[in-house]
Homo-oligomer: 145 residues x 4
Amino acid sequence: MTITLDQARTIVDAALAHGTEAGFKPLTVAVLDPGGALVALARQDGSGFLRPDLATAKASGVLALGMTNRAISARVADDSDFFTTLATLTGGKVVAAPGGVFVHDAGGALLGAVGVTGDASANDEAAALAGIAAAGLVGRTGAED
Amino acid sequence: MTITLDQARTIVDAALAHGTEAGFKPLTVAVLDPGGALVALARQDGSGFLRPDLATAKASGVLALGMTNRAISARVADDSDFFTTLATLTGGKVVAAPGGVFVHDAGGALLGAVGVTGDASANDEAAALAGIAAAGLVGRTGAED
Amino acid sequence: MTITLDQARTIVDAALAHGTEAGFKPLTVAVLDPGGALVALARQDGSGFLRPDLATAKASGVLALGMTNRAISARVADDSDFFTTLATLTGGKVVAAPGGVFVHDAGGALLGAVGVTGDASANDEAAALAGIAAAGLVGRTGAED
Amino acid sequence: MTITLDQARTIVDAALAHGTEAGFKPLTVAVLDPGGALVALARQDGSGFLRPDLATAKASGVLALGMTNRAISARVADDSDFFTTLATLTGGKVVAAPGGVFVHDAGGALLGAVGVTGDASANDEAAALAGIAAAGLVGRTGAED
C-alpha cells in the first residue's frame, strides 16, 4: 500500500494551513511514499531554498530506518558517530529532531511519511500531525509510544 | 521576482488535469524558482519513484544554463562530451528533451520553470504549457523562437 | 529581485578595501544571488585555496535556511547532529560562525548574501557589512535582531 | 608563480567588456590559479546559475590535465569513454569545447587559466583572450600550436 496523491495533497494543504493559522514561520511540507520518493511537496513563500531537501530528509530518515525521530534521537544520543554514519550513508537525508512523521491508515498499514520544516521542531511536527489528521489518517511520531 | 506558491499550485493542478483529460500516462510535475529550488511538486499515482528527480531536472537544467531544452539539444547535438560535462556538474539535473519550460510574467520577468515527466516529451511539454497558461503566466519552450 | 553584478562588485571591492585598511589577513569575498549562485568573487593574494568555497558556504548557508549565522548557531548549539544533517545535505555549504550576511535593498527585499573568510569571524563580518554599506544596501547578520 | 588578484580582475573586467561591446549573450568569467582555485569570478546579469561552475570547469580542466581544450578535444575525439572518465573524476570540471585559456607571463611562466561561458565557444574564447591581453599577459588556447 502507498499514500495516494489526493491524500498527500490534503496533508500538504492542511499542514500549511495549520502553520499559517498558528503564526508559524513559512513552512515546507513533503509527503513521501514508503520507498522514500516524493508524492507531493509545497514550499511557502519566504521559506529558504534548502527547505525542500530538509523536509524530504525528515520524512526519508524515519522511513529509511523504520524508526521515529525520537527513536533515532535516543539511539544517537550517546553515539553521534552513528548519526554521522547515517548522515553520510544517506547524503544527509536523516534528521533526529522532530518533524518527520509516519503515516498509517486506520488499519495500521504504513502509507508513507510527512516531513515539515521552517519553524521550531515541535511546531513543524504539530503541522504534520494536523495535515495527517485532515486526511483521516494516523500519524506516528514516537511521542505516543 | 519569483513564482509564488499559489501560482505554482495552479500550474501543478492544471498540468496534471491536462494529462488526465488527454489520457497521458501518470505524470510528475515540478515547479522551481529561478534559483532552481522546488516550490511545488506532485506525482500522480503510478508514476515511478525517479520521476520527482526527473521532473526537477527538466526544470533545473533550463534555468541553470538560461537555455531552452531545444537550445540545449542543439548545443549538444554534435558534442555529447559537453552534455557529459553538464550532467556531471549538475548531478544529472539537466535534460535535453522537451518538458522543461520557462515561466515568465506578462512583463517578461523570469519567475521560474516547470518540469513535467511521465509520457512522451511532447506531451509532457503540452501539460506544462497548459499549467502555465492556467496561472495566467507565459511559458517559453524554445519552439516559439 | 536579485543583486546586480555592479552592486556585487562594489561590495567585493569595498569589503576587501576594509580588510586591507584594517590590517586583516588576506580575505576572500563571495556575493551570491538569492538562489545561492555566485555573482562575484575575489580572493586576495595569500588567501588559501579553500577560501572561495568557504566564502561561498558562509553566504549560501544563510540563504539556504533563511536564517542568520547567529540563528543557525543557536539552533545547532544543543543539537550538533542537526548541523551534521545540514552539512551533508549541502556538501558543507553551511557555516554557523559569523561572516555570511544577508543583503536587502532599502525596501527590505532580499537581493542575496555576502560571505567573507580569512580573518576572525567578527572581522570577516565587519568587512562584509562595510561592502554592503558601500553599495547603499542593507546588511543583516542577526546581531541587530 | 601565480596570477595576482589585480591581474585577475583586469582580465575579468576586460573579458566582460569585450563581450558587451561585441553583443555577446551575458557571460560568466572565472580566473583560476595554477592549482585550480578561483581568484576572481563575475557573472553578468542574466547569465544562468550553472555558469559559475561551467566557467570554472573550463579553466580547471585545462589546468588539471595540462592540455588545451583543443588537445583535450583531439584526445577524446575517438574515445568519449575517456572523457567520461575525466568528467567523473573531476565532478564535471573539464570541458573539451573552447573557452578555457592558459595564462602565462611574458617569460612563459604559467600563472593560471581563464574560463568564459555564455555565448558560442569561439566567442567565449575571444573574450578570454581579450581579457588576458588587457592584463599584458599571454593566453594559450592551442589554436596557436
